[in-house]
Subunit: 364 residues, 2 copies
């Protein structure tokens, strides 16, 4: 596991870009000579008093790039006559600020809600949205990356988590991948994303509240005990390495859902040892390959890293990835309809034990 070479650049409209290269001696272009329109207007976040959640309102994203043809892909390297978001003619892994971000900029500290209305509270949508390209090849897939490349992606996640955590006002850093037209991916080039939220997300807050209550009641860690219970039950285990365990959770919401925990409690990606990273680089693509093989061919999925928040409740957090897919049968998807969307009452048509057994049966 060698260190990667990190090269920082600025895009023509002032956005940051960072190359992560696996070899010495590559010379990445750090000057973007395009003429770009000025950045879109900032978004806002609004507080929903019924669910006590923040919602980002980002009207400018309506105009974002939508399913470009492969020869117009903004995530491919630049070639003679066509400049993309990446100035160089090649790259290994690259991270850069999204041109149509839901969150951007730094809070000036000036705004704190609409005057006189504590029910209609709005703040600037500050924070950061970055794109992480896994490969200069347009049709690469994370599941097919060699482990050396996954290690480079891990280094990019760690680097950007550290950088975004230092931005004023960022409360949580979220590394994730949306894959597949079926879940609305608008750019097909293999890529993930990293969000720096200006608030603690509702999901994270609820999980950490559960962990706090459990600690108070039992003196034990909720995440570690869930992992131990799944290992003991065995029936929902998908795969284990020396340092990682993948399982379908007992109360899985999605017809295809796998959670991946390090066996040791770790707060965030940067705290993983080199050995843990090396094993992660093997087991994560292998899980995705099993998911793809289950129904034949590609599978739409969301792969989501849960890391400790930047400031609060860090000791309660347990790094883990949750992978979810709406695929419930060949050619059929689960949709989130009334019960899920309006009541948060999920109905899963595939039993977790059946899903785990089918995934285990696929050669790793």
């Amino acid at each position: 596991v060698g260190a990667r070479r990190v090269t920082e650049a600025l895009l023509a409209d002032g956005r940051e870009l960072v190359y992560f290269d696996e070899r010495e001696g590559v010379d990445r272009i750090v000057h973007d000579t395009r003429r770009l329109d000025s950045p879109p207007p900032p978004s806002v976040v609004r507080h929903d008093p019924l669910l006590d959640e923040w919602v980002a309102i980002a009207g400018h994203r309506q105009g974002r790039t939508y399913l470009p043809l492969a020869d117009e892909c903004p995530l491919c390297p630049s070639v003679a006559g066509r400049q993309t978001e990446i100035p160089s003619t090649d790259y290994d892994v690259v991270a850069f600020e999204n041109r149509f971000p839901a969150f951007a900029g730094v809070d000036s500290g000036a705004s704190a809600g609409l005057p006189g209305e504590d029910l209609l509270v709005e703040q600037p949508g500050t924070g950061r949205c970055e794109v992480v390209c896994y490969s200069s090849k347009h049709d690469a897939a994370f599941s097919a990356l060699p482990s050396s490349r996954v290690l480079t992606v891990i280094e990019a996640w760690v680097n950007r988590t550290t950088a975004l955590s230092r931005l004023p006002g960022v409360e949580q850093v979220f590394c994730f991948e949306n894959r597949g037209l079926e879940i609305g991916v608008t750019l097909q080039h293999a890529h993930g994303q990293i969000y720096g939220y200006p608030y603690l997300t509702s999901r994270t807050r609820r999980m950490l509240n559960s962990a706090a209550r459990y600690l108070e009641r039992t003196g034990r860690d909720l995440f570690a005990d869930i992992l131990a219970a799944e290992i003991k039950a065995e029936t929902r285990i998908v795969a284990r390495s020396g340092a990682w365990t993948a399982f379908v959770p007992f109360a899985a919401r999605w017809p295809l859902e796998v959670h991946l925990y390090p066996d040791r409690q770790v707060r965030e990606l940067g705290d993983l040892t080199m050995l843990e990273r090396a094993e992660l680089a093997e087991i994560l693509p292998a899980i995705l390959r099993r998911m793809e093989a289950l129904y034949g061919g590609s599978v739409p999925y969301i792969a989501a890293w849960h890391q400790a928040p930047v400031r609060v409740s860090r000791d309660l957090a347990y790094l883990h990835m949750e992978i979810m897919s709406p695929r419930r049968a060949p050619g059929r998807l689960k949709f989130l309809a009334g019960s899920e969307s309006a009541m948060d009452a999920w109905i899963n048509d595939v039993s977790p034990e059946t899903a785990a057994s089918a995934l285990r049966a696929i050669p790793g």
Copy 2:
């Protein structure tokens, strides 16, 4: 507003069916002469300790009827040579137990979690799932129903809310409609559904917790104050009648989202006065017609009634409907990807004021 004639029947496999007729003198068939397979195995509900939510696992639903051709529709009336779920040759409105229910049966009280494991808790998936057909016409739409028919649907909602609330173990009754292939509707005949959940749903619990905190802090009702704030702000109002107000919420999650509140605090549909019902029968289809007109033609949507739970926190509840659509432009949908699905951090690409203004501009 005349009372409807209610006729109860039993389907061949023991499921309940209730006709709601607008005219006297109709004679509905109450004997279902089909030979039906025995009911599917019961589902279970499992507790997710991380989010403190129940998830239903209903493996049998994988085999449910999926997009039948119009001449095989199980929700059309029976005709000579083809018997459907509705034994009669015609009906106005009919409600019956879903053949592939997520929740069914009555809790025997025998089960309370797996022995020795307080993290892996499972209960029987008791409760009730009903289908409500709005019209014997296969291609009817709620938005095009005459107000007299909407009143019949309201009477069915009230009747079934009362009936399901009396079932042992049902904690909450949820009347809703999923409409449109885009959100996964598997039967195209115009219909809604009613769920009797064996638990308080996570969404309702969170809303009522917010209302309880607000009451403690201010001595006032959260829902009533939100409605008052929206009426005062004006910019997000879609339509008002004497007794109802429809608005796009300040922190709307969906690109097309309308909330409909009675101006008077009401706990559940059965508490609406005849005048409030009559106005509802006008304003609700009119809102749906505006949503359809916005992007031309049909619009996928979820329309969800929030009523008071059966037993707890009833005084905190405020009856209202939330209508949500993923349509963000002609031919384009919002998808719930990583931020929404993994972090509950919604990003809305359409500003609520823009949506409300566009909906207002459409002739009612």
